[in-house]
């Protein structure tokens, strides 16, 4: 049963690309089905690029980009976006940092003005820096220090898997490093990485291409031209021996673990990479997936299980080196070794027999739904296309992803599963400390 195959549908969002004289790359993707727009500016700098002694700086700097700019006082950015009926945010990733708004489409020019103004230069002051160091510390307390499983596994697994500072360090940052940050550090970081040539602007939704192009020229055309810095090589060799680590989480009531294996280069070997993206779903998407059926339903060895490619869970916004991750929460007294052995056994079975009776096709259909659902929001399209432009020069790939995922074969899944060997695995175990008292 379940063998009948759903035809994988596609979207046909149009894509316009051009580059301004100052090197800013622009992607437009109009869709007038709702009177809203998405505007995203992304800079090619992230956690991997922050200097030693300045852990967390890329994220701290993201906060500083909201603290006023050439023509805007502190608080003005927030008020202008929300006062136009929109919402905004920014986020810091391993390989890029994004800034974005989604608004009713009558606010297009305002959004472009706001982004261009801070691309010319944020207001970097001692007072704003100290204020945002405090805010970021509270962010870290709420997301990491004051809750169970904080930072698991995105902050706790990289230091097990990687050896070099860019890949291994804590991207949220230590309080010491955050407190040591200076306005001069911020000015240098801006000059080096927040260059017009290092950025992509994407605008999606209810826009007219000619009008939007004219407005973009008007607002971004005279942003001073600075070239993109050379991107360092962050490559690390694959593991040749298994790595295991563990730590006690004082707040966690139950054990958990995460395991990861390196995957092919997402950019230079996309065809080799894509099967791993699908494999993660074959293993863990829903009650009918391999590992959920076995470990949750049959063995009752874990209570929850997830799998994905990329430490932040998005396979289409990362560069090499990255990994396929599995994470699981165990019942009281659960045995991590035993679960890892079962995973090895299931991977062996998949590597030997390949996917069975419709298993791959149904996973691909479900992945198509997820991909299409993410693109329904104008902002989702702007963000994804901006990243695809920056990392691949291919924003239109967004339209192709459901089909490409659907073309992955049983043989490719079998081959990918065969590489997830224990000796290439890094894993981290959370030992429950049992609560504050």
């Amino acid at each position: 049963m379940a063998a009948r195959r759903s035809r994988i549908p596609a979207t046909k969002y149009p894509v316009e690309r051009f580059t301004l004289d100052n090197g800013l790359r622009v992607v437009l993707t109009p869709d007038r089905s709702a009177p809203v727009i998405g505007v995203a500016v992304i800079y090619d700098v992230g956690i991997r690029s922050e200097p030693e002694g300045r852990t967390g700086f890329a994220h701290l700097f993201e906060h500083l980009m909201f603290q006023g700019s050439e023509n805007l006082e502190k608080l003005a950015h927030f008020r202008h976006v929300q006062g136009a009926g929109g919402t905004f945010n920014g986020s810091t990733h391993h390989d890029y940092t994004d800034y974005y708004e989604t608004l009713p489409s009558n606010a297009l020019e305002r959004a472009l003005f706001l982004e261009a103004d801070r691309m010319r230069g944020p207001r970097l002051t001692e007072e704003n820096l100290r204020n945002q160091v405090d805010v970021v510390k509270e962010e870290i307390r709420v997301n990491v220090l004051n809750r169970p499983y904080g930072g698991f596994p995105w902050l706790t697994l990289p230091p097990v898997m990687f050896d070099t500072f860019p890949n291994a360090h804590d991207g949220y940052g230590s309080f010491d490093d955050l407190e040591s940050a200076t306005v001069t550090d911020a000015a240098d970081f801006f000059r080096r990485y927040y260059a017009s040539g290092n950025a992509v602007l994407a605008v999606s939704g209810d826009v007219d291409v000619a009008e939007a192009t004219e407005l973009i020229e008007r607002h971004f055309g005279d942003v001073p031209s600075r070239p993109a810095p050379e991107r360092p090589d962050f490559a690390e060799p694959d593991l040749t021996a298994e790595r295991r680590s563990s730590y006690t989480d004082a707040l966690a009531p139950l054990p958990a673990f995460a395991a990861a294996w390196r995957v092919p280069d997402p950019i230079t070997d996309f065809a080799g990479y894509l099967p791993y993206v699908v494999l993660a779903e074959v293993l863990t998407d829903g009650d009918a997936s391999r590992l959920v059926e076995r470990l949750v339903q049959r063995d009752r060895a874990v209570t929850g299980l997830g799998g994905y490619v990329g430490f932040m869970g998005d396979p289409f916004d990362v560069r090499d080196p990255t990994a396929l991750l599995l994470e699981a929460h165990l019942p009281p007294g659960g045995d991590v070794d035993k679960v890892l052995r079962t995973i090895d056994e299931e991977l062996d079975r998949l590597a030997t027999d390949g996917p069975t009776g419709g298993e791959l096709a149904r996973t691909q259909a479900r992945m198509a739904t997820h991909l299409l659902r993410d693109t329904d929001a104008a902002l989702g399209r702007a963000l994804r296309m901006a990243v695809l432009e920056q990392q691949r020069g291919q924003p239109g790939l967004l339209n192709e992803l459901p089909r490409l995922v659907g073309e992955v074969t049983d043989e490719q899944i079998r081959a990918a599963a065969a590489t997830l060997r224990p000796e290439r695995r890094a894993s981290v175990e959370v030992i429950p400390g049992g609560g504050l008292r």
Partner: protein, 447 residues
């Protein structure tokens, strides 16, 4: 020469004309068995969103939680794995959830799989079997999940607040005790299903790349056989808030304090509702609010403070929440009380109101701009007996609320004298600060 311009030279571009709120094409039908079906067209991506809202007032807490946990664990014709695989095959998925108001089945899938998703849904609704093996597994998983929830400060603060504001009302406790969960047997679930999972009073919402009338036909064809005449249960109205001493819930070693403040509120249809929403925005309901600008952007006490009006069937309440550093718990509460008191006694400036109004109107447009957003909105409205056309009325009310209306609403609903305050944190460190501001009554954290 550099092209850098002088600060202040560039001025903010004006907004274009406001886009009028345009409702999507939709259709509604009540089936012979009492099920209401609403279908809404948004063809942007070839998907369909599904929400089935079933009234669940006064359902036994542990049995209700287990019902949601195991509803998709098997039917007469399919195992749990087969249900999941069959849904996946059409790009679909379903999940079940419950709260004191409703039992909800929700999901999304490729629109070509709508008929199949509805068939599987019908199979679950009419033939869920609650097999013993699966119920056992899910019982343990639910208990583990409750244990993990209880280790989270946000959960502990929220449960303390619920107990404090709802007293003996069914809303007071929304998570079962592990021992209660352990006691739930498959027979009890089958009985509960027979009693409470029935079409009368339920609303199915389908949103996506569908022709509404055809989607209604599909739902009618597959779901008409869902029958059953179990009972419904009315929830008593939620009790009014009773201000009193600040409740301090002790969590020794906590590096932050969780502030929770409840204030009175009114349902969506109440004449004060639009003005209350605007007052809430000005206070703490969005980033550009007084509260966020004060305790985050000025003082750096916190990361993500926010306040919102929460609507339930039996009543509405405004809840303000912030996680603040332990050492500034007192000052953060002081500023919070100050901002509430200021808004309740001094009228907001016209430009503050305009900004909040634009935000409220604009985010209505954003909320309607995706299939998932439309589906959740349509379902939430239907749960309160409203339809999407109420959006136009709400927008009109937002558009015409005056400074005076908002000042009156703030005085009536946001006054600190009406607040119920709960703080979860390290009592040894924060009691002296809090006691300087209000009478404090302390209890240990209990789940």
């Amino acid at each position: 020469m550099s092209t850098k311009t002088q600060a202040g030279v560039r001025s903010l571009p004006p907004l274009g004309p406001n886009r009028k709120l345009k409702l999507p094409k939709q259709a509604e039908r009540t089936l012979g068995n009492g099920l209401t079906v609403i279908a809404v067209r948004r063809p942007a991506v070839p998907l369909v969103e599904l929400r089935l809202w079933m009234p669940a007032g006064r359902i036994h807490l542990a049995r209700g939680a287990m019902l949601a946990q195991t509803m998709l664990s098997g039917t007469e014709s399919m195992t749990a794995v087969q249900i999941a695989a069959e849904l996946q095959a059409v790009g679909g998925g379903l999940s079940a959830g419950i709260d004191p108001d409703r039992l909800m089945l929700s999901g999304a899938g490729l629109v070509t799989g709508l008929d199949r998703m509805l068939e599987i849904l019908a199979d679950v609704l009419t033939g869920a079997t609650y097999p013993g093996e699966e119920v056992g597994t899910e019982r343990d998983r639910l208990v583990d999940r409750i244990q993990v929830a209880r280790s989270q400060p946000a959960y502990l603060a929220h449960t303390a607040l619920l107990r404090r504001i709802y007293g003996r009302h069914p809303y007071a406790v929304q998570t079962p005790e592990p021992e209660q969960v352990h006691a739930v047997r498959p027979a009890a679930l089958r009985r509960l299903h027979a009693e409470r999972v029935h079409p009368a009073g339920a609303v199915l919402v389908l949103v996506g790349d569908v022709q509404p009338e055809r989607a209604l036909d599909a739902a009618e064809k597959t779901l008409s056989a869902w029958a059953g005449t179990g009972h419904t249960a009315e929830l008593p109205p939620a009790p009014p808030l009773e201000p009193g001493p600040l409740l301090l819930v002790d969590r020794p070693g906590s590096v932050q304090s969780s502030l929770r403040i409840a204030l009175p509120a009114v349902p969506r249809t109440h004449p004060d509702h639009a003005a209350l929403q605007l007052a809430n925005l000005i206070f703490g309901g969005y980033f550009s609010s007084r509260w966020v600008e004060n305790i985050r952007e000025d003082k750096g006490y916190t990361y993500g403070p926010h306040s919102l009006v929460d609507h339930s069937v039996a009543g509405s309440v405004l809840i303000a929440a912030a996680e603040v550093a332990t050492e500034v718990t007192g000052p953060a509460l002081l500023e919070t009380t100050y901002e509430l008191g200021r808004l309740a006694t001094v009228a907001a400036k016209p430009e503050e109101l305009e900004q909040a109004r634009q935000y409220a109107l604009g985010t209505l447009q954003l909320g309607m701009s995706t299939q998932a957003g439309l589906a959740s909105l349509t379902s939430a409205y239907a749960g309160s007996g409203l339809r999407l056309d109420f959006l136009a009325e709400y927008a009109a009310r937002l558009a015409k609320a005056t400074v005076d209306d908002v000042a009156e609403a703030a005085q009536r609903y946001l006054a600190p004298a009406r607040a119920v305050t709960v703080v979860l944190g390290d009592a040894e460190r924060i009691t002296p600060m809090l006691s300087a501001l209000a009478p404090v009554c302390t209890e240990p954290a209990r789940p």
